[in-house]
């Protein structure tokens, strides 16, 4: 039987005669939720925190549903034995499980009678419950050195060190509100950063360098390259040998877009560091989403030399503990107290506003600082 060419196949110029291609499968999430939970879908009216890591949802019919949240290793990296361990805990104690959007894990539908036993078993196995309410939540991060070529810094090891260092804050709800930290290895921000209370992002030391030979030899789409540069830092230049480009160091935001477009001709310098941004808030429950603002543009983050990062994160948390009112997220706290007081409180120097000394186009960007490098 002949298959009809689909719209997507037409777009990529594929013919419909590769008949052995099975139809694609978008998995049905309903398979993951047992009927007894699906039946109660939509019946929840409220939830409360029973203790760190344990949520109780209350149903309109008086029913309840317990969820236990645990911390996973950074970057959602799980070996087959650990996956089986999670599956075993679901079978033993809960109805089903889910990975959270912050790379943590939840057991949903835990029987209250076995809650104590479950928490003890999780604790003993090194996966204690926590990361709910006024605690440090799972530190989200990208893959970096584990499997990515773009990384300026290594997000998973930073996430690991942060989680170890602030481990008590993960277990004990003693912060003014929830604290979410995201770490990304480069400005691509796969692991997030702009959305978090504290975002850490890898940056390269200097502007990318044009490798003239490589550039001329590769068939680089100059128009595409220019259009990808957010700040207009790349300018074309005609030479006898062909079109080359120059990068204006004053304008370059070190976003690495150009390296992505033309890896053969534009190369990164190896030295790198981290930028710390503060006060992001991805949700939309009050004033709308806020992007985090860079407070320290350049912090040492050579692998495992993370003391300076930890010091600054601690300064932010301590400031927030000092002036934050209960229930107030870091972003709201900053809005109330103002940046000047915050910068003084954490010992950071104010630096030029985004766009200073740059063309107006740079002003549209938040989360990228300028003029201080």
């Amino acid at each position: 039987m002949e298959r009809v060419q689909t719209e997507a196949e037409r777009r990529v110029g594929m013919t419909a005669d590769i008949t052995e291609l099975p139809a694609g499968i978008m998995p049905d999430y309903r398979r993951e939720i047992p009927p007894e939970l699906r039946q109660r879908q939509g019946s929840w009216v409220w939830h409360e925190l029973v203790r760190p890591g344990v949520l109780r949802h209350l149903g309109a019919d008086g029913g309840e549903l317990f969820t236990v949240r645990i911390l996973l290793p950074p970057n959602g990296i799980l070996s087959a034995p650990t996956l089986r361990q999670l599956a075993h805990w679901i079978r033993k104690y809960a109805l089903t499980g889910r990975r959270t959007s912050r790379q943590g894990f939840e057991f949903v539908g835990v029987q209250p009678a076995v809650l104590g036993e479950m928490l003890a078993e999780l604790q003993a196995a090194g996966f204690p419950a926590g990361g709910t309410g006024n605690t440090l939540h799972q530190v989200k991060c990208c893959t970096s050195f584990i499997h990515c070529q773009n990384a300026a810094i290594d997000a998973p090891s930073i996430a690991q060190v942060i989680t170890d260092y602030f481990y008590d804050d993960f277990l004990h709800p003693e912060l003014p509100a929830a604290l979410k930290i995201s770490v990304s290895g480069c400005p691509n921000q796969c692991g997030g950063g702009v959305e978090a209370d504290i975002g850490i992002m890898g940056r390269y030391e200097s502007i990318p360098e044009v490798d003239e030979e490589g550039f001329l030899n590769a068939n680089i789409d100059i128009g595409l390259l220019l259009s990808w540069c957010p700040t207009g830092a790349i300018q074309p230049r005609e030479t006898a040998r062909g079109t080359l480009v120059t990068i204006d160091a004053g304008r370059c935001a070190r976003c690495t877009s150009c390296v992505q477009v033309a890896p053969e001709g534009i190369k990164l310098q190896q030295r790198s560091y981290a930028a710390i941004a503060v006060g992001g808030h991805g949700g939309n429950s009050r004033y709308g989403s806020e992007m985090a603002t860079v407070v320290w543009p350049r912090v040492t983050a050579q692998p495992l030399q993370y003391g300076q990062l930890l010091e600054r994160i601690a300064a932010i948390i301590n400031y927030w503990r000092r002036v934050g009112i209960p229930g107030e997220r870091l972003a709201a706290c900053l809005q109330r107290t103002g940046w000047e007081e915050f910068l003084a409180g954490v010992g950071a120097e104010p630096f030029a506003e985004p766009g200073t000394g740059r063309r107006a186009v740079a002003n549209k960007r938040k989360g990228i600082e300028a003029g201080q490098l």
Binding site: L83, E195, S289
Partner: protein, 429 residues
Amino acid sequence: MAQPGPEYPFCRRLIQGPSPSFIRELAASRYPLAMYEKGLEQGASAYGHGGYISIPELPAGVAVRSSCYPEIIDESAYVRILAPAGGWLSAGTLEELAACAEDYGRGLVHLTSGGTIEFYTTRAQMVATARKLNAAGLDVGSTGDDLRCLTACCGPARCEMALVDAPALATYLGQRFIDEQQYPGYPQKVKSGVSGCPNDCIRAMMQKDHSFIGVYRDVPRIDHETLTVWLQKGGDLDRLIAACPAGALSRSEAAAEGDAERGNLDGDRSFADGEVLAINATREKPGAAGRLQSFAMNSGRQAGGRKLPVETDVQAPPAPSLVIDAGKCRRCMACINLCPAIRPGRERGVAWVAGGKYGHRGAGGPMVGYVLVPFIPIKDGDYTAIGDLYGAFLEFWADNARKKERVGDFITRIGPRRVLEELGWKRSQ
């Protein structure tokens, strides 16, 4: 428990802390730990540019990274799996993934920050891996310039805030646009997410090119009976009132007498599209909310309002009560998150937000999406209209975007108004 040997000094330092260590996971698998150790030692990734590849059997969902240390590994391939929406993973699925990763990969599964599931394998095993996954009801996709895996928040199976069934909508869109997730043919990648309410727990508005966010457009409902109980249990009314970003909440003195009446809003009013905006991170604030008349929810204003029998404890002081100024209310979730007596309005749908992205690449850098349509009603779980609109946009963008132009940069360039015009969407619709 698996431990890296003495030849991995950097890795060994990362298993000493109290929290679950990813090094233990790597060491418990066939992942080439020497590559990661090299990266830490050199301060630079041991992987090089590789990329998303297309093989005849698998146009998307597979990729390779080249290696800077061929003596350790010559290249590293991986498959990307479309994940069940809402992050839901049953014991059976976890076991399937474990078996598949062991038999066809390196015994390691990666729950990515973007919401997909990946595991490392070899080029030779890719097709077999995909077939094995197919047998388990899973599939690969979501790489390169295609539609990336549709993600969602946990939805009404677990969350009381859910205004729409986010995983169901994401699954509907994922099934309808499955080809687009498996055949890269777009100018650039395009990510999408569905959140059940404006809390947007998955941060879809910022991370995704397209997000559908559950919203309501009538005024939140106050259940005065529950409010009384909440206050008796120590609920903090002042904090609740202070939490409202619009100053729409106030005490109702009339209700303090104890004869509070429920604001029965069902069918009382309907709002035209564009009048009310639940999502306030828009760059195009219509500012039309001010046109709404003030509509207090307490008694008196509402002829024929039903009396609600309130069981007042004679010992308790008369409970103060609460009113919402409908003209000021932004239909957010701040009061609803704090107080069980306030529930979202009953007229529900989604806001369509387009253009979000975290990354610094592309003209606009990181951006929060544009609210293109603030309210698309959903009736009886019928998502066809949303799918039509989404499909129409994808086609419009595919035909008109520059090469490698993300949705946000595209909309910034041509203007959100033009997008809506091209799609034939009228504000008054």
